[in-house]
Amino acid sequence: MRGIKKKLHGIFGLIFALMPSLAWAGGKKASMLVVVADTRRISNPIFHYFANLYNTNITLFALWAVVLTALYGCALGLLMDFIMERTGLDLRTRKIIEH
């Protein structure tokens, strides 16, 4: 029994070791590179949450990415609008002169 177990371990070990070379020899197109965020190096809790989300739920991460980009864009747009209004420039009218 112990002998069969050893042989099985050996076969599985060999398959595991040969797997990359077998995949390589298969000649098929390589699948997309999977990137994993290393959360062990992040101390900031917000960064940690997003890095963790990136690893575990990419759809929710994508939604957050779009929503946060849009929100930050809007917030910066409003802030810059507030600042620009105070420059004294007329920012509501302009003449269209082509030439």
């Binding site: 990415a65 910066l76 609008d81 082509e98 030439h99």
Partner: protein, 345 residues
């Protein structure tokens, strides 16, 4: 000097954050002035800072979406965005991008994608630059001869006039842009530019802005604002798809957006002090730089290509900033003088 570097939590490396702010700022200036995303400038810039290529494109697209939002906000207040035209064109753009992407997949299957895409891009950039400069030369000749047509003054290329004669219903009036045409014209133009954008893997601002001017008949300023509105929507969609593929670094997006917020104000306000043809010629020069850099990359001269792109970004940004600050200073002086006269009388 460790404080000048910030850790990117997803890509897992440290980056020089003032460099990101500077890239965001410059592309904000140029994008706000020309009405384009500027991916051709951001991606090499990020690469130079040491950003992995896998993350550069997704990060770039998300930043472009946010930046275009800020610039559209400002252009909208000037009345430079024709939202109706933007929504009509969105239909053609989306279908076009999908068709373009399918052509790329077909080329990929026959193993020709890389070379064909790059050379088609070069040919189109050449044609755009040629169109812009021929138009300018023609307009200058007409102006010298005193030929002025309609409200827009001396114009070089007027293909849109011929296209406006096509009266296939439904006819739509675009109030902000100031013309009436068949709805099929902007749809077909946006479809064509969408196919090219999808095929070339770019946002499309580089193609759509001149298409809006020469084929749809938008005044240059409205073309810039409306195009930015389109870039904003396609950019948000692009940000979502690239995030799903895990190719985005949100921290970098936010840092770049902070610089872009200031840059976009300068670029957008500068359009107020520029004539339409001034914008067109500067745009043509940017297209030429983009074209040469792609040819250099194709010939494996990567360093000269990067130098050319960075040089072009610096020169064009400086030109736009000078235009904006000069114009703003003149406007404030004039305002002050008016107020002084009102006080004295």
């Amino acid at each position: 000097m460790d404080w000048l570097y910030i850790y990117m939590p997803i890509a897992g490396f440290k980056i020089f954050w003032p460099g990101l702010v500077l890239i965001g700022f410059s592309v904000g200036v140029i994008g706000g002035f020309f009405g384009m995303g500027g991916a051709w400038m951001v991606t090499p810039g990020l690469n130079i800072l040491g950003f992995p290529m896998a993350f550069a494109i997704g990060t770039d697209i998300a930043h472009i979406a946010g930046k275009s939002m800020i610039a559209t906000f400002r252009h909208g207040k000037f009345g430079n965005v024709d939202y109706k035209l933007g929504f009509v064109m969105l239909v053609g753009t989306m279908i076009g991008i999908e068709c373009g992407a399918r052509i790329v997949m077909w080329l990929e299957r026959i193993g020709q994608v890389g070379r064909v895409v790059r050379w088609v891009y070069v040919v189109f950039l050449f044609l755009i630059a040629l169109m812009v400069f021929v138009d300018y030369a023609k307009a200058v000749r007409k102006k010298k001869r005193g030929i002025v047509e309609g409200e827009k003054g001396a114009e070089g290329i007027t293909w849109y006039k011929t296209l406006h004669r096509i009266k296939i219903p439904p006819m739509v009036h675009f109030k902000t842009a100031g013309f009436t045409c068949s709805a099929w014209l902007p749809i077909m133009v946006s479809y064509a530019t969408g196919v090219l954008a999808g095929f070339l893997g770019i946002g499309g601002g580089l193609l759509r802005m001149p298409a809006l001017v020469y084929f749809v008949g938008c005044p240059t300023h409205i073309a810039v604002g409306t195009d930015l509105f389109e870039v904003m929507i396609s950019g948000l969609y692009g940000a979502f798809t690239y995030s799903l593929k895990g190719r985005i670094e949100l921290v970098a997006v936010f840092i770049m957006l902070t610089g872009a917020a200031i840059g976009a104000q300068i670029g957008t306000v500068a359009t107020k002090y520029s004539k339409g043809y001034g914008i067109r010629v500067a745009f043509g020069s940017a297209v030429v730089c983009c074209m040469i850099s792609i040819i250099l990359k194709q010939l494996k001269y990567n360093l000269p290509a990067a130098i050319l792109i960075l040089g072009a970004i610096t020169t064009i940004s400086l030109y736009i900033m000078i235009t904006m600050f000069r114009g703003a200073a003149a406007e404030l002086r004039e305002k002050k003088a008016r107020m002084a006269t009102a006080h004295s009388s």
